[in-house]
């Protein structure tokens, strides 16, 4: 949007490393609370997941290049979910941001919103001297042909959920077992790989929060799940 509109603060809910299904259930509860206006603020969940592969709504297992038995041995499950995009991996050391945002209240189109989420990631890694860019081939943020951060959202009753995943220190090996985003030949990278040393994860979380505030022109107010009026 060209016009700068002062908006309400967002609630920021930080969770520890969370099992995927549990985080999904929390997202759905917050989403419903936002849709029903039980919660009248936009929200951002920040967390990491235990290792899991997730597949977007209309995709199958075709971009998984290893067997189900192999994944069982590695103790990694595969979950099909309602977001856009193809297959990806989540694991500890990857910062996940799930904004639960009523797009029209924020005067954002879906395209603006996805672009803004990319901007949050670009500015976050720029704090570490990393020059990531957008790529015509696929949304997310890139360094040459390597993908550093991914995006996949869903919109229900005008409220977005799911979000972005930024590889900070996360293991990259599991990405070798898939064609990330359904694109053969795409390599994933991490801030650790680019910097040749692991950045402090807590500092990167702080960077993410600062840039969420800058990019969306909002203030984040820290909340815990028990603070929020939903059951």
């Amino acid at each position: 949007m060209n016009q700068k509109i002062k908006t309400d603060p967002w609630f920021c809910i930080e969770l520890p490393v969370t099992e995927y299904h549990e985080a999904l259930a929390i997202q759905h509860r917050l989403l419903n609370a936002r849709i029903n206006r039980v919660i009248d603020k936009e929200m951002a969940l920040l967390l990491e997941h235990f290792p899991v592969f997730t597949i977007g709504r209309r995709r199958g297992m075709e971009n998984l290049t290893v067997s189900a038995d192999f994944l069982k041995k590695e103790n990694i499950s595969v979950v099909q979910i309602e977001r856009g995009g193809d297959i990806t991996f989540h694991g500890p050391g990857q910062i996940i941001c799930y904004p639960i945002v009523h797009l029209r209240s924020m005067h954002l189109t879906v395209v603006d919103f996805v672009t803004a989420l990319e901007e949050v990631m670009i500015q976050t890694v720029a704090d570490w001297g990393i020059g990531a860019v957008r790529n015509q081939m696929n949304r997310g943020i890139w360094i040459k042909n390597c993908k550093l951060g991914s995006i996949g959202i869903a919109v229900r009753r005008g409220v977005s959920f799911h979000g972005f995943a930024l590889n900070v220190n996360t293991a990259l090996k599991p990405f070798d077992w898939i064609n990330p985003c359904g694109l053969a030949g795409v390599k994933m990278t991490s801030m650790k790989q680019v910097l040749s040393k692991p950045p402090d994860l807590n500092r990167v979380y702080k960077n993410v929060k600062r840039h969420l505030q800058d990019v969306f022109d909002i203030e984040l107010i820290k909340k815990t799940l028990v603070d929020l009026p939903f059951s």
Binding site: R57, V111, S160
Partner: protein, 132 residues
């Protein structure tokens, strides 16, 4: 993003707050999303439509549309039974962006209540909604 004055908003359909349109005729109705909705979504890459014969109430999600890594639900403007779906969108989902009221239609239904579309917004009322 298009200005309101640039949007295609035909007179011969009714609009909803969720930005779907409905064009009733002879107890049936065609349904799709408005020019405003497609403009908000960006380039549409996939449209998921319901099975023929299924029935939905007003406001229920009947399908999804996927654009720029975003999957958005589609909602019934009125209740009814699915008579046909626009299978051309399987190959050419971009019709929804280019011709949202014509080649980009999504479903045709048998209206559960013939008068139900009357309660939806006219072009002028919809423009007022868009102006906020």
């Amino acid at each position: 993003m298009k200005e309101i004055s640039e949007l295609k908003l035909p007179e011969n359909v009714k609009y909803t707050e969720d930005h779907e349109w409905v064009r009733p005729a002879d107890g049936k109705a065609r349904i799709g999303i408005s020019d405003y909705a497609q403009d908000q979504l960006g380039d549409i890459v996939y449209v998921e439509l319901p099975d023929i014969g299924s029935t939905f109430k007003k406001g229920e999600a009947f399908g999804t549309v996927e654009s720029v890594k975003a999957v958005s639900d589609l909602y019934m403007p009125v209740g009814g039974e699915i008579l046909s779906t626009n299978t051309a969108l399987e190959e050419s989902p971009e019709w929804v962006n280019g011709e949202p009221y014509d080649e980009g239609w999504m479903i045709e239904i048998k209206l559960a209540a013939v008068t139900e579309p009357d309660s939806l917004m006219s072009r002028d009322a919809y423009i007022e909604l868009l102006k906020g």
